[in-house]
């Protein structure tokens, strides 16, 4: 049951560029939107997270933007580096439980 649609499926960005990944959700009963970064053979690592009462959150080169009316949230990676090459997952948690629901992931490749 896919409740969040993540795009694009894959992304190639030149070093120094901006990487943008989008997620659109259907249900509005969410209270937490984390983004995870996953390298091959490793578990997902929490990158940054936002709650719906905040429209934007920035941590270093990573920014989450949240558009409640459009039911979308996005991850921006500024000054992308080859070390950022990984798979990125958006997720949400409903306000009635603790399970995370994940998007299908975006494979990011940052070229030198």
């Amino acid at each position: 049951q896919q409740q969040v649609k993540q795009s694009p499926q894959s992304l190639i960005v030149q070093k120094g560029g901006i990487s943008i990944i989008n997620c659109a959700y259907e249900n509005t009963a969410f209270d937490y939107f984390p983004w995870y970064q996953q390298f091959p053979g490793k578990g997902p690592a929490l990158l940054i997270a936002i709650r719906p009462d905040v429209s934007e959150k920035k941590e270093g080169r990573f920014t989450i933007s949240f558009n409640k009316s459009a039911k979308q949230f996005s991850l921006h990676i500024m000054d992308s580096q080859p070390g950022d090459s990984a798979t990125y997952f958006c997720a949400f948690r409903s306000n009635s439980g603790y399970a995370l629901n994940f998007g299908k992931g975006t494979s990011l490749l940052v070229t030198p």
């Binding site: 993540q6 937490y32 984390p34 995870y36 053979g41 490793k42 578990g43 997902p44 690592a45 929490l46 997270a49 997952f89 997720a91 439980g97 603790y98 399970a99 995370l100 629901n101 994940f102 998007g103 299908k104 992931g105």
Partner: protein, 113 residues
């Protein structure tokens, strides 16, 4: 260690066999979660533990899947009579409490022949 530890890291077994996957959460984390990640897919929630109780088992795909947690620490996910569609990476996460950020282990890669 400081992180979530899972064992074994890889498991290959024949169809029809039972398997047990282990998770050691971060010390002091009362909440523990199991997820499944099929190749090239996002994570699917399986079960959530608060302490030794499982208030949310809604993601377990069939009665062949079960999990337990003891001592508010180690958890074991058991898959009985494995099928080829059970092949996936099984990931465990823990958090200080249910509404806190979840931290993942590196998973167990399960292959059913």
């Amino acid at each position: 260690g400081a992180g979530v530890s899972q064992s074994p890291s890889n498991k290959v077994t024949e169809k029809g066999k039972d398997v047990e996957l282990r998770c050691d959460p971060i010390s002091g984390h009362t909440a523990l979660y199991w997820y499944r990640q099929r190749l090239g897919q996002g994570l699917e929630f399986l079960i959530y533990f608060q302490g030794n109780s499982a208030p949310d088992k809604s993601g377990l795909p069939s009665d062949r899947f079960s999990a337990e947690r003891t001592g508010e620490s180690v958890s074991t996910l058991t898959i009985q009579r494995t099928q080829q569609e059970d092949s996936a990476v099984y990931l465990c996460a823990s958090s200080q409490q249910g509404n806190q950020p979840q931290h993942f282990g590196d998973g167990t890669r399960l292959s059913i022949l």
